[in-house]
């Protein structure tokens, strides 16, 4: 069976709770076959947006659709979208397996699929004990199993790495990679950039309910540069400038050359007769960028006063 993802589209989406605007005229699109990180500080409106996509929360205005169709109009909801919204939504007295059976029954998914998913997510042993005894990691796996019940084309995961141990996080990454390689659309929310940095192809960053940035991770981190250290930075800077490479002085007498071509920088230094003490690619400081993009937009900071944020 060929699996083709669906396009998730959020357009001019707004949600107000009383005087509080949780999501503010938000528009973005998520394409199939990629893992998209949905980033923002806590309280940025990520969960509210996901819940509006699933018709759990009614938008004040705007639309949220899957292949152009609102969730409640999907012919086969669980076969189209799988969602893991929180790792705590289980009845503590019901076993994990029974939790999945209840959901499976509602959509006519056979029990065999339930056991298959328990294997796949690595919790078959615990599946028959009550969910109240589960660790956070097991709850996350169970939530993921629930999301995958209908073999959906789109996966919406809200902070799936929360509470996972390092091995679990690694497993999750591989698992999501595998699913996206099948062509599924995957949207993973997180308040930590580092969590999705190694998994996501694209990111959508929101803060204060508004879109801050959308693009590929490579685009976001800007053109990668080269750090070079030498005895006479000024001389190397003019030599690089002559070779058509823009240069900015860095701290500690280093230079940042606006090129990813390490060999070119080395060659230019050699021709200028300058020693190369250090030559490396500048690692993209995504965490810093993320912080910069969302800085001052924290709701609590805003509540203190607009003036303080400036």
């Amino acid at each position: 069976m060929s699996v083709i993802g669906a396009r998730v589209e959020v357009r001019n989406l707004t949600k107000r709770f009383g005087s509080f605007t949780a999501v503010d005229d938000l528009s973005f699109q998520v394409d199939p076959g990629k893992i998209t990180g949905f980033l923002g500080p806590n309280g940025a409106g990520k969960t509210t947006t996901l819940r509006m996509l699933l018709d759990l929360v009614r938008p004040t205005s705007g639309t949220a659709t899957i292949d152009g169709v609102p969730y409640h109009q999907l012919a086969d909801p669980l076969g189209t979208v799988g969602a893991a919204l929180e790792a705590t939504s289980f009845h503590p007295g019901r076993s994990g397996r029974d939790h999945l059976r209840v959901l499976a029954a509602a959509t006519g998914v056979p029990t065999a699929r339930v056991d298959e998913l328990l294997e796949l997510t690595g919790i078959p042993v615990f599946a028959r004990s009550r969910a109240g005894t589960y660790s956070m990691g097991m709850r996350q796996r169970l939530a993921l199993a629930a999301a995958l019940l209908g073999d959906p084309r789109v996966l919406l995961l809200d902070e799936p790495a929360n509470g996972l141990d390092p091995e679990g996080i690694r497993w999750l990454r591989t698992f999501l990679r595998h699913l996206s390689s099948q062509g599924k659309t995957i949207l993973v929310s997180s308040h930590l950039l580092a969590e999705v940095e190694q998994t996501a192809d694209e990111v959508v960053i929101i803060a204060n309910g508004r879109l801050v940035r959308q693009g590929s991770l490579a685009e976001l981190s800007g053109g990668s540069g080269t750090i070079v250290r030498t005895s006479d930075p000024a001389a190397l800077a003019s030599a690089l400038g002559a070779a058509g490479v823009a240069v900015h002085p860095e701290n500690d007498g280093c230079l940042l050359a606006q090129t990813a071509d390490l060999r070119l920088v080395g060659d230019v230094a050699l021709q200028a007769g300058l020693p190369v003490w250090e030559l490396r690619e500048k690692a993209a400081d995504l965490e810093g960028l993320f912080f910069e993009l969302t800085e001052g937009t924290n709701r609590t900071a805003v509540a203190v006063g607009e003036g303080g944020a400036a």
């Binding site: 759990l56 409640h72 929180e86 009845h91 029974d98 006519g108």
Partner: protein, 269 residues
């Protein structure tokens, strides 16, 4: 897209929800034991000399049989109210309502499935309750020289007791949605039905207008009228069994209906 099969699947899912926690067998034991114990007690009481004393409850053979066979109902309708509250309240409490509405985004259909499932669950417990009370009650009445089956009207009461239980479960469904905190819903639901209402009935029995025109429409009063048990001598008016059944249907319809309307419109966050 047809409503039939998907509604049937949702009902199946609701029944699984109920059968996959420990609640069901605890309730089963409670229903069976209370039915047997209460009908034993009432069977002895209503065939004893106490009934000849002034001020004692009055009833004919049919009403005595009805009272004995439905003796456990006063406990089991509260248990059905509890089940109704929990069937939806637990979903809000443990946030499983999210999964329910994701699987069945047509919320009215998801809630209709709860209504159908609760009626089936209540009927199941009703049969269990009758098993306990009729076996015990008929034995006691027989042993003490009373007629265990004076009329087919007794059968009507037995069948109606199943309806009563189903309707109380639906009242619970409504209460469970309208009072979002499950513990509060249980305390208020059971408290009103078990304590507040009888006290109110007692208080209002001193006011003729209320005793004649208000009290009979209370859910517990209507319940007693439906199953036509023997009457106490307080002089409070009582509806005929079918009018009382309609009153109880109205209570269940209004409360569960209001609950469903609220659940359909509410944001789940």
């Amino acid at each position: 897209m047809t409503a039939g099969p998907s509604t049937a699947r949702s009902v199946h899912s609701e029944l699984l929800k109920f059968s996959t926690t420990r609640l069901w067998w605890g309730m089963g034991i409670a229903v069976l034991l209370s039915a047997a114990a209460m009908s034993l007690l009432y069977g002895i009481l209503f065939t004893s000399s106490v009934m000849q004393e002034p001020g004692a409850p009055v009833g004919d053979d049919v009403q005595i049989a009805n009272s004995v066979y439905t003796a456990g109902l006063s406990v089991s309708y509260l248990l059905m109210l509890t089940i109704g509250v929990i069937q939806v309240g637990a979903e809000y409490r443990h946030q499983t309502i999210t999964g329910t509405f994701l699987a069945t985004p047509h919320r009215a259909r998801a809630l209709l499935a709860k209504v159908v499932a609760l009626l089936a669950i209540a009927a199941g417990y009703g049969v269990l309750s009758l098993l306990g009370s009729v076996v015990t009650g008929a034995t006691v009445l027989q042993l003490r020289g009373a007629d265990p089956f004076p009329s087919t009207a007794v059968l009507r009461t037995l069948v109606l007791s199943l309806l009563v239980l189903g309707l109380w479960a639906l009242i619970g469904l409504g209460v469970g949605i309208l009072i979002p905190n499950q513990v509060a819903a249980l305390l208020i639901g059971v408290g009103v039905a078990w304590i507040v209402e009888p006290l109110l009935v007692f208080a209002l029995s001193f006011w003729n207008f209320a005793a004649d025109h208000l009290v009979p429409y209370f859910p517990s009063s209507a319940t007693n009228a439906v199953i036509n048990v023997i009457e106490d001598s307080s002089g409070v008016a009582r509806l005929s069994w079918w009018a009382a059944a309609l009153v109880l249907v109205a209570w269940a319809a209004v409360l569960s209906g209001l609950g469903i309307v609220r659940a359909v419109r509410q944001d789940i966050s």
